[in-house]
Symmetry: C2
Subunit: 346 residues, 2 copies
């Protein structure tokens, strides 16, 4: 089957490390994906970067530049961001809204990206709250954590919609036929957890979701659930803490390995193993976190991103479009509304 | 200065692995601490275990047995637990309440331990909610995370009291002169976070706490705060997830090191380094998590505990008593009540 070609708008500015890593990611995507890329940002800066890297722009080239003179800084508030219509994120979002692009990838200010896409694209019909889904490695296969930062104060119905959207994502992108849904909590039993998760448990249990019950912190990585649902406050803390802890442990271990000459020699021998290990737990492999539930395709990357993560995000954005993920979300949300009574009607 | 001798009641039953690890921990504490231990549980089982390990009970021995015929299982609810007055945790808590013991250590059902101590001991004067404090390793020095599971739905004032109690603990047990307090949230700015943390931020800022602002998930291990405050839902998820991730990484790495003969040989050479590394990130070094704010000394250990953790918990319980930690908590809570107006009076 030939791969389906998509056009992805890439917010080239606003990352912590400037546009170079983004441009490198775009060029890497030319090799690894069939997609075209609209680089959105300061045109002189981007044109110079492409030239320096030996890439010639032409009418038919798969990379093109869409000028946007302004950049939303990492410290700008969402309300500031939505007012600056000439920023790279705003222009990139408009390209997608006007169907000049099939999806959007951004490594800029996450709050700004969410605010602009939610305002200009709106939510998909029936979705109560868009949520950010992150793929995390588990002991068996990758698992989806949702929401990791879009919503800090969630109602049980929001969590229910995260579950539905996460399941669609798991089916289409991770190719799982019947994703198992877990609810992040602090005990196995239904009554355990806070007011929000205890109420959500009932909503999940009474639905036809493939709900496997509560998942505790120590079980997140065990692979017992393919989609783990939580509010964006908890999800964000868990995701960022986990990434920092993994990286901290590797750094610390490397430092320790340099403290004796035997260990240093041995370390040389195991470096390939360490590198493979790092790759296996590397979140960049999964290419950013989609904002599920907005009426468009939006993949959010780390501010401190790298070319590989950008390339993978472009790939995922293309997959989202090719699999018509948003249409499936709309259908699934409609099929589960209203959820609690549905179980009794069946 | 001679060490101060304390008498610690040790709930010897109810751990996941049975009483043997607990008894081993008690015997280890005889070497490493000056304290006496009241082993509470099934007397025939405990007497046999002590005998098998070559320990002779006598009128003057530092270990003695206090019989309690019942055990609260890990699956019992707190309300069930408080009804069984002949359980090891209930009897141990009563020993402390009646001043026959200076503190309590338990590796049993955490919910039961909290319910029994809160019911029988009550809270310290002025404390709105007791909270569990866990010591976690950071890149510079250990840091205290509070609450890690006692309260799932917290008000800002509860978080404020966790901060005060955590600071007393950091001063007395970690020997920090002016502990820096952080609030776990999902952004640096005051407005970031959920409704609860945004309100707590104001309370902290307007007090004379040494408040250093929000701490994000990725910064928990960076050592920028000595006490990190959060509600017990988030804290429990973070603590358990972190422990599982660290252990998962070490296991995974060891497995990887066995995949080639060069790596296997090299692994042998770095085993001492790996062991030291594991020790540095080992939560058992810190000996359980105190339930701060109850009118007594209660140290909670993992259900899957080991002798080292029990021994360290006995040491910490003794330190708590010797440093008169609860009296200091009462004084500090009184000095900060009512907190918000205090800043303006100053």
């Amino acid at each position: 089957m030939p791969e389906i070609v998509r056009k992805i708008a890439l917010d080239a500015m606003g990352s912590d490390h400037g546009p170079e890593a983004i441009v490198d990611g775009a060029l890497a995507a030319l090799d690894k994906t069939p997609h075209s890329i609209l680089l959105v940002g300061k045109d002189d800066v981007l044109a110079r970067l492409l030239r320096d890297k030996g890439y010639s722009l032409s009418r038919d080239s798969r990379v093109s530049i869409v000028p946007a003179p302004d950049v939303i800084s990492m410290h700008a508030s969402p309300s500031e961001a939505v007012r600056i219509k000439t920023s790279s994120i705003y222009v990139a979002a408009e390209l997608a809204r006007q169907k000049q692009a099939d999806g959007l990838v951004s490594a800029g200010n996450t709050g700004a990206t969410m605010a602009v896409t939610k305002l200009r694209w709106r939510s998909l019909p029936g979705v109560s709250r868009p949520g950010i889904a992150a793929v995390i490695p588990s002991q068996t296969q990758p698992c989806i954590l949702v929401d990791v930062g879009a919503n800090v104060d969630c109602k049980p119905r929001h969590l229910f919609h995260f579950a539905i959207m996460g399941a669609v994502y798991a089916k289409e992108i991770l190719h799982l036929t019947q994703p198992r849904i877990g609810l992040l909590s602090i005990g196995e039993e239904q009554i355990k957890g806070n007011a929000q998760t205890a109420a959500a448990f009932n909503l999940f249990k009474d639905s036809d979701l493939n709900f496997v019950g509560n998942v505790e912190g120590q079980n997140i990585l065990e692979g017992g659930a393919d989609v783990i649902v939580c509010d964006g406050f908890v999800g964000n803390v868990v995701l960022k803490f986990g990434e920092a802890l993994a990286s901290h442990m590797l750094t610390h271990l490397k430092k320790r390995l340099k403290t004796s000459w035997i260990a240093s020699l041995a370390a040389l021998a195991i470096m390939p193993t360490l590198r493979r290990f790092k790759q296996e737990v590397d979140p960049d492999e999964f290419g950013g976190a989609p904002l599920l539930g907005v009426n468009g395709i939006c993949i959010i990357c780390h501010g401190a991103t790298n070319p590989k993560a950008i390339m993978n995000a472009i790939r995922v954005a293309g997959d989202f479009s090719a699999h018509r993920l948003n249409q499936q979300i709309v259908e699934e949300i409609a099929a589960h509304a209203p959820a609690p009574s549905k179980a009794f009607q069946a």
